[in-house]
Amino acid sequence: MLEVEGLGAGYGRIPILNGIDFSIARGEIVGVLGHNGMGKTTLLRTLMGEIRATGGVIRFEDEDITRLAMHRRARLGIGYVPQGRDIYPQLSVMDNLRMGEIVRRGQSAVPELLEYFPVLEALMERPGRALSGGEQQILALARCLAGRPRLLLLDEPTEGIQPSIVDQIQAKLAELTRALDLTVLLVEQNLRFIAALAERVLIMQKGTIVASIAPEQLSDQAIVDEYLGI
């Protein structure tokens, strides 16, 4: 579904990513782990087109999208929920959701989304800024899904969210990927969360992917220390 070969990117003249190679098959949930500053967010932003790739190839469903504009990638079916949620603070929850519906023509996705996220129903009229962090995260996810993406890029969905909500998000993601036939690339620092969801975990160090491990190995302290130790 997604193939990345020799991908490089950076900010201005500072290279962040170099020689990234990996691929994701349809229906897979793949996690990305790594320390701060290793290039995890940059990877997602480059995949989405927010940062121009300086080398390499990105293919989505066998189409070369390396040079494609951001909004075109979104229309092809790549959904991105960035770090910090990025909802529209002044717009109501309803309008936030409507904004996500671009790819859909005709029937609104909102009723279906409310079945998956009943918590949003009571909040529909409220402006985005009046939501709690967890609610904002759920809204950001729901809004992204309103566009019916086939590939979902998630950047630290659990950041700054209380543990009980993290569990809910985890369960919801597991349910949704099956129900909506989603493929997911998940960047996360929360080991427990990533171990519960991902089928495969890529380890990033200094802008490149150094290993691919099974989620069970995350409970192995030796491995965690090797790749993620301080």
Binding site: N36, Q90, R126, G147
Partner: protein, 368 residues
């Protein structure tokens, strides 16, 4: 209700019945004016309608798509001159008004294309639009010679074109509208522009514009080609400014380089800021309040009208940061918000007791 009209919390919602009542009331207010006001007041107020359209064009652009065009006066002036030159050449005014709209939109289309597709940052966009209007002003001021003629109309440089034709009746062009009729047409056109822009905000196009205002990057991530939407909004605002320019030129009646000037460009900002950015009724109210106040100051023998006006405006912007109209509009809202504020406080307190990372820590754009 007051809240909905004056503060426009949810621009994408269809206006309710009471909004239409408000609009009807507004129309009735203007339409009855010629019956009980002196003719010089009517003449004076006729000028305001063109200005109000100019203010609406900026209020829409700035308030709802976040583009601060300092040079809406460029398209205002183009509309004024376009109308005058065409109407004097053809002797027909209705088509010339449409031409003024088209000219404003086309000017905005050309300028906007380079700025928006060139991904120029917001501050440069403001500067470039301002420079554009000043270049037009200089250009027009330099056309005093006999050689500057379009068709049979001399542009007249500094002095402007004083022979702007009055509007005539579209189906009988030999009959010109009198002062009252021009007032009514101006009022109705202004209100129609207001209704049109308001309803546009409820369409998907309008929603995307507000999305761009809130967060352009995010909107692009959701699959919208934001540049196309911004250019569309810019052209629409250019057309509305052009329409205002035509009405203004007819009302004075004079097509003058002053229409492009720095002073006029600053006026527009003031109308929108004082009236209330982020609303559509605010810019209209701003025009009527400020222009009326200017006129009144002039009769009070204070001498330094501009100075007093400036001081009042500064004070005003400091006290009513969101503008006159939204400040009035949010008074009833404060009462409703109490519950929401209480809820937030309770939540925050609950959160503070738990040993978790605070949610304000979102490291947006840290780039890791």
């Amino acid at each position: 209700m007051v809240h909905g009209i004056l503060a426009m919390q949810h621009p994408s919602e269809r206006p309710k019945w009471w909004w239409w009542v408000f609009v009807a009331g507004l129309a009735a207010f203007f339409i009855t004016m010629p019956f009980h006001l002196e003719i010089f007041v009517i003449l004076e107020m006729s000028r305001f309608f063109g200005m109000a359209m100019l203010a609406l064009s900026m209020g829409f652009l700035w308030g709802f798509s976040g583009i601060l065009s300092f040079g809406q006066t460029a398209f205002f002036g183009l509309g004024g001159y376009g109308f005058t030159v065409l109407a004097l050449n053809t002797g027909e005014t209705t088509g010339s008004v449409f031409f003024a709209v088209a000219l404003g939109a086309a000017g905005a289309g050309i300028l906007g294309y380079f700025m928006i597709y060139g991904r120029i940052s917001e501050i440069y966009l403001s500067v470039i639009t301002l420079v554009f209007t000043l270049i037009l002003e200089k250009g027009i001021r330099a056309t005093s010679g006999d050689q500057y003629v379009i068709g049979k109309v001399r542009l007249n440089g500094q002095n402007g074109i004083p022979t702007v034709p009055q509007l005539d009746v579209p189906w009988n062009t030999s009959v010109q509208l009198d002062i009252n009729w021009f007032f009514w047409v101006g009022a109705v056109v202004m209100i129609l522009v207001y209704i049109g822009l308001r309803l546009l905000l409820t369409t998907p196009f309008g929603r995307v514009l507000v999305g761009i205002r809130e967060n352009e990057r995010r909107t692009e991530l959701l699959g919208y080609d934001t540049r196309r939407y911004k250019l569309g909004a810019f052209m629409l605002a250019g057309g509305v400014a052009g329409l205002g320019g035509a009405f203004y030129a007819i009302s004075i009646p004079l097509a003058h380089p002053e229409m492009f000037s720095l002073g006029r460009a600053a006026d527009v900002i003031m109308w929108v800021l004082v009236g209330g950015k982020g609303t559509l009724i605010g810019p209209i109210a701003g025009v009527f309040a400020i222009e009326h106040f200017k006129g009144w100051l002039g009769t009070q023998g204070v001498g330094q009208v501009t100075l007093v006006l400036g001081a009042v405006l500064i004070l005003f912007v400091l006290v009513f940061q969101r503008g006159l109209v939204p400040s009035i509009g949010s008074l009833p809202g404060l009462w409703q918000d109490r519950a929401a504020i209480g809820r937030r406080l309770g939540e925050a307190a609950a959160q503070a007791r738990r040993p978790v990372r605070r949610r304000g820590q979102a490291r947006r754009g840290s780039g890791a």
